[in-house]
Amino acid sequence: MEVKITINGQEVSRDVEPRTLLVHFIRDTPGLTGTHWGCDTSNCGACVVLMDGKPVKSCTTLAAMCVGHEIRTVESLERNGQLDPVQLGFHEKHGLHCGFCTPGMLMTTRALLDHNPNPTEQEIRTAISGAICRCTGYKNIVSAVRWAAEHEAATKQEA
């Protein structure tokens, strides 16, 4: 079937089997391999992308289900050479070691801050509870999200 999805503002179209999962559509068709394909069982959160602004696990979503919806992947965070505050936060606070979970963590964080610009530590921990990191022990990730929230608020004030 012909599946046409808007990914990062670009329409992407391909003839695929209905059983094609969103994560594979994203990685194969526009070749956006930033979205990681992890556990395949909707547990690990490495494959999280935004669907109409809400985080979803792309390994457990059919590409066909996304026709007519806006998908945002980790590649959309950087704009005009400027990193998103969330990316800067993970850089500043060393919110990763191996980096495999990072795309999902970044998109989950982006959705959190869009919804709640000043989250508490508990709110951050709840928000990322659908994403597994086997390296950091989460401490630096939580710090990174806090840094992003504070930095984003400061940037908005300046503007």
């Binding site: 209905p18 069982t41 909707s42 669907m51 696990k57 979503t61 059919l62 289900m65």
Partner: protein, 292 residues
């Protein structure tokens, strides 16, 4: 790489259209909403539908409405919406208790109440919630609608009273005065299926329990309604001793199986302890409302 076996896909634009397709294709057709239970099962070949009818566009099935005598919840209402509903938090707080511990926030953006009930996984929390609240569900088929209570909804593991050509369209939560409800769950780690879970509801008038609901999750082949415990609680004033007796009955009347989540005696122990805790919290909430 895990991929479901091939199937045909159709996106429904109306409830009637989806039901017509179910009737035409027969039992090999399945409705898909959030897909967070069905797709993993299809990847593992535990479910092999040949035809999927995507109902995610049926916005008319997404609502939480308060009526005089009941709350009506559309089948396509997502877990995240149930969690955030102030109406449910006020009138049926067992929903928020359960939603806080169902999967994780990202999964909750997709999963729906209708899908959860129809999946009929014994460890699924909303089944216990709806059973304790004595909810009824609306099933629509080619011939029209019928309603059924939660008692009799679960026929066996992953099997419900919903016919092959029917769709669960609505869940109705009765509203009665003096109500309090709570959900208790023990899980190995955040977001996991329950080792055991219990939903309790009580209705208290003049210091006496007029009616009670007690439902056990992950403690048998289906969600178990602890009817003997419910009967025991009726027409008595709430007390720790009474709840301990009800917990004792829940412990006897459940039928857990040993698995990676724990042995039988531990699960029976949880049935008792969680029943007591859920009844205690439900009662505290009912009495709070009575004071107002």
């Amino acid at each position: 790489m895990q991929t479901p076996a091939p199937f045909e896909y159709e996106r429904a634009t109306t409830v009637e259209g989806a039901i017509a397709t179910l009737a035409k294709i027969g039992p090999e057709a399945r409705l898909i909403a959030g897909g967070h239970s069905l797709l993993p099962m299809m990847k593992l070949r535990l479910a092999n539908p040949e035809y999927l009818i995507d109902i995610n566009d049926l916005d008319e099935l997404s609502y939480i409405d308060e009526r005089i005598t009941e709350i009506r919840i559309g089948a396509l209402t997502r877990h995240a919406e149930l969690l955030e509903s102030e109406l449910l938090a006020r009138r049926a707080p067992v929903f928020r208790d359960a939603e806080e511990v169902i999967a994780d926030p990202v999964v909750r953006n997709r999963g729906t109440i209708g899908g959860s009930l129809c999946q009929a996984d014994a460890a699924e929390d909303l089944s216990a919630v709806c059973a304790a609240l004595k909810a009824t569900v609306v099933l629509r088929g080619p011939e029209g609608e019928r309603t059924t209570g939660m008692n009799g909804f679960y026929i066996g593991p992953f099997t419900t009273a919903v016919g092959a050509d029917e769709m669960l369209t609505e869940v109705r939560i009765p509203l009665r005065s003096g109500a309090g409800s709570a959900h208790e769950k023990v899980e190995r780690r955040a977001g996991d299926f329950a080792i055991a879970a219990v939903s309790a509801a009580v209705w208290i008038e003049g210091g006496v329990i007029t009616d009670a609901g007690l439902a056990l999750g992950a403690l048998g082949p289906t969600t178990i309604i602890a009817t003997r415990a419910e009967e025991l609680l009726k027409s008595k004033p709430p007390s720790g001793e009474l709840f301990a007796q009800a917990g004792g009955i829940a412990k006897e009347d459940c039928s857990p199986v040993p698995d990676g989540r724990g042995p039988v005696d531990y699960k029976r122990h949880l049935a008792s302890v969680l029943s007591v805790r859920a009844l205690r919290r439900a009662t505290a909430r009912a009495l709070q409302h009575e004071d107002r």
